[in-house]
Subunit: 268 residues, 2 copies
């Protein structure tokens, strides 16, 4: 597959590591970033520890065009994501007047004042700008450094999604590569994945801009169900669709030759 | 929290990065590893590329006592996890007679023979031993190197879970630390997370063996719902329970003082 600007997602939170929470945020972001034309290269989940966050953000800097962190922006003692980002950037945290105004407004509308724990949410890495939180109290933050756009979003899914759509998407669209991405696929029944393997390989060679992947979901033998997904990138939507269909055609031929059938189609 | 042997989970698969599949395997494994007494330090999702897999397995070696990879063991062209593990170990892949016998048996029971793509599933890193797959065709692999136990499990959840329980758990129990881990919590209504923050901090100071975390799930203001979870480790189950309850007691007191109430309890 051609080189596309890379994106890293860094998910912060012990609850993810101990399996209390399933990381749906990473999948949601991965899908949006892919359709915007970025190549998601890593999702890294780290504990709520400054050094661990700094280590992974530091690895991503200069390597990924976009680095998105989720979680750890709230008012409690272990919300330390922006400390970790600041450490990776070699900068300090600074009270941002615009962010403080966002926090102040959020609480004053509800008849509450500022407390130490609430003011903490307006401490951003030096040089970062706040991202408005349309749903909750904690602003996000975005900063450009060493060729990477580093954006920090909340961990609560409704807040993360709203901030991504309203505040971050416009910034990403400016740096997203031109062109189009499509993803589609078929579900194949009656053929073991291992028998389909040579056809999938052939399909993947249709173009370097096409990525073909099989997902076995039934049993390998007995009642095999294999979903074959194709992701194609091209300069126009029509071209991307055409390449995806060309690749799927190779798989269809295999299904036919092997006596299987197609139970579902998901058009490009 | 006290130092416990660390575990890393390395999830292999483009479908996870592009958000087509939600990484439920990592949560499932994270929960089991935590209850076995390991501290899950990273979950890293990587593409189906040998170099990327090798990079992350290489980082984990010597740092994590246990490294578990999921996915990429199947018969298709992009199932390259064991190549990545071998590269990280500085070893080659080798046809393992025991693994080949597992694959041969799986297919012959179903009246099928071996093909090149099927034999590929028995190519393990030099020195690794196969892990039986009670559900599917591809064996797993386990190898001890540089102080780390590296285990590779399939990506299909039913296969991953069965292999973990039957083949890997006994090996992990041998190296797991003695002692017990409990996790429990309460759901608090009527108090914003930012007001509860000082009490949560106080609870987290009850013992270095206790970890307290709040998860806001309602809105910060209006109808706040905050789940507070406590994870406690100790040498016996009774001690772990006692420490968890002591920490929760601090939070309960805060809820009372702030005029909130507890809507759910999940006993230790």
């Amino acid at each position: 597959m051609e080189e596309h600007p890379r994106a890293w997602i860094i998910s912060v939170g012990n609850e993810l590591l101990i399996g209390r929470t399933i990381n749906t945020n990473a999948a949601w972001l991965g899908s949006r970033l892919t359709l915007l034309g970025f190549e998601v290269e890593r999702v890294v989940t780290v504990p709520d520890r400054v050094e661990d966050i700094a280590e992974e953000v530091g690895r991503a800097l200069g390597r990924a065009r976009v680095v998105i962190t989720t979680g750890g922006l709230g008012p409690t003692y272990d919300d330390v994501t922006l400390q970790g980002v600041a450490m990776a950037l070699g900068r300090g945290l600074k009270l941002h007047p615009g962010a403080l105004e966002m926090v102040r407004r959020f609480y004053s509308k509800r008849g509450l004042g500022l407390t130490e724990d609430r003011v903490k949410m307006a401490m951003l890495p030096d040089g970062a700008e706040p991202l408005e939180n349309p749903v909750g109290a904690a602003p996000g933050a975005v900063v450009e450094a060493r060729g990477s756009l580093v954006a920090s979003l909340p961990g609560v899914p409704s807040e993360m999604e709203a901030m991504f759509e309203k505040a971050l998407r416009p910034l990403l669209e400016e740096i997203a590569p031109p062109g189009a991405v499509v993803e589609c696929g078929i579900a194949v029944v009656g053929v073991p994945e291992s028998s389909l393997a040579p056809y999938i390989k052939e399909a993947s060679r249709v173009s370097p801009r096409v990525y073909v992947k099989s997902h076995p979901q039934g049993s390998e033998i007995g009642k095999p169900l294999v979903r074959v997904r194709v992701l194609a990138r091209a300069s126009t939507l029509e071209e991307a669709r055409a390449e995806a269909l060309k690749a799927l055609e190779k798989v269809r031929r295999g299904v036919e030759e092997l006596g299987g059938s197609i139970s579902e189609e998901d058009s490009c």
